[in-house]
């Protein structure tokens, strides 16, 4: 993978929803290129189309017009099997509500995507334990989700997202249900993983703590890209946000 290859490319994407007789344009033409290994935050108010764009990038939704390429593959051309494979091997999802599977232990949650990928038995257990160690939960591998705190559950989710060495981690408001300190820990963990493993991290967020670690921030407003800022330009805009209130 060369440094200038685009792991995600969004070209002229629009999306409209039919609400009764009304057509709502959630996205009105988005172009975006994300390089491998970048840490991207997608920011925007509720209703800006942020989630819609995010789901598109994650292959969870298909655009009305335009194309989404993941690793230079047009997502809309994929059949159900290929999409499942993409979700399993290429993309790791992290959710606002953690979504640890309640009936499984921490380790089983982490090894489930490996099972889908055809890796089973001892190899999966070894890799799962190594991942739990990476997120600092090796001693809790046999715990059920309800025995873990929110922050710990999100750590398990991070380990699970990394199960099959994905190229992209998609984090939807990963700190939305966490307190300030725990949220910072998760952000630091994601940043660490992104720089250590060269994983592309894309997160949709309201959380300004995310800005410090992002390589680029994509601001979405009213279904369009409002602006894209690199990290070095960011301190100024954070100041502006602070003063704006």
């Amino acid at each position: 993978m060369t440094t200038d290859s685009h792991i995600v490319r969004v070209a002229g994407v629009t999306k409209s929803f039919q609400l009764g007789k009304l057509t709502v344009d959630a996205l009105k033409g988005i172009d975006l290129e994300i390089s491998a290994g970048e840490y991207i935050s997608i920011m925007g108010p509720s209703g800006s189309g942020k989630s819609t764009l995010f789901n598109m990038i994650g292959g969870l939704d298909k655009p009305t017009a335009g194309k989404v390429y993941i690793d230079e593959v047009d997502v809309s051309q994929l059949d159900a099997y290929e999409l499942a494979w993409l979700r399993c091997r290429k993309i790791g999802y992290i959710f606002q509500t953690f979504n640890i599977i309640q009936v499984m232990t921490a380790l089983e949650n982490v090894t489930l995507p490996m099972t889908f990928a055809g890796i089973g038995g001892d190899e999966a257990v070894d890799r799962g334990m190594a991942l739990l160690e990476t997120v600092g939960l090796a001693d809790r591998f046999q715990h059920k989700p309800f025995e873990l705190s929110g922050g710990q559950q999100q750590r398990v989710a991070v380990a699970r997202a990394l199960a099959n060495d994905p190229a992209i981690i998609l984090a939807d408001e990963p700190t939305g249900n966490l307190d300030l300190t725990t949220g910072e820990e998760i952000i630091a963990l994601l940043k660490e993983l992104s720089s250590d493993r060269q994983v592309t991290v894309i997160s949709a967020t309201h959380d300004f703590k995310m800005l410090n670690v992002s390589d680029r921030v994509v601001w979405i407003r009213d279904g369009r890209v409002d602006k894209i800022e690199n990290r070095d330009e960011l301190s100024i805009s954070i100041g502006e946000i602070g003063t704006r209130g």
């Binding site: 939704d61 499942a84 979504n99 599977i101 489930l112 889908f116 990928a117 055809g118 089973g120 939807d172």
Partner: protein, 216 residues
């Protein structure tokens, strides 16, 4: 071909079993209507087996007692075959049971929409979800139907013993009883699978994006 996600059968069974264990109470509610309906089926059939055993002895005394007990027998009959009346009541109870299972399973699917969505985000195919639900229902079916069959059969034998004395147990054809219990178990499994068909389809068609939803 290499781009294929898999879920080994053994692993599916493991997940299904765990799911039943952890949600034991919910599984119990789902299974209870099946247990009761199958208990009724097996009670009726084993009751007929007992009556047949008694009739086969040829004693007029038993004939009279059975008619008193409500069996529709004409003079000279040597077998009790399930009457249309009996059959309709059993069929009706089984129908109600299937509706109960569908209802309970649909609720279970709604409760688990996030789990299903998450699994799909992790790469699960529709048919993995379908298989998990069918396996769960199958296991619930076997356990519930077995419990129901034994419960109903046991109750039938006990009530026969109390009503007709030891002769009822002595004369009964155990092969017949076993066949009745086996039939009840098979019927229970089939009903459980019929009941989960639509809910499993709903679950399998669920979009992975559901996992992202946050209730406000």
């Amino acid at each position: 071909m290499h781009r294929l996600v898999v879920l080994p059968f053994r692993k599916s069974v493991e997940i299904a079993l765990k799911s039943i264990q952890v949600r034991f109470f919910r599984s119990l509610v789902t299974t209870l209507s099946l247990v009761l309906a199958i208990a009724f089926l097996s009670f009726v059939n084993v009751g007929n087996d007992v009556a047949n055993g008694l009739l086969a002895t040829g004693h007029g005394e038993w004939f009279r007692l059975l008619v008193d007990a409500g069996y529709d027998l004409s003079p000279g009959d040597l077998r009790v075959d399930s009457s249309p009346k009996q059959r309709w009541i059993v069929i009706l109870s089984l129908l109600v049971c299937v509706v109960g299972i569908i209802n309970a399973q649909l609720m279970a699917v709604t409760e688990r929409f996030r789990e299903i969505g998450t699994m799909k985000c992790l790469g699960a195919l529709d048919r993995f979800i379908l298989r998990l639900f069918f396996l769960e229902a199958g296991l619930q079916g076997i356990i519930g139907a077995l419990a129901g069959a034994l419960l109903g059969g046991g109750a039938a034998l006990l009530s026969a013993w109390l009503r007709y004395g030891v002769a009822a147990i002595a004369e009964v054809s155990w092969g017949g009883v076993l066949a009745s219990l086996g039939f009840a178990v098979v019927a229970g499994c089939i009903l459980s699978l019929i009941g989960v068909f639509y809910p499993a389809l709903v679950a399998a068609r669920m979009q992975p994006v559901e996992a992202m939803r946050v209730e406000q």
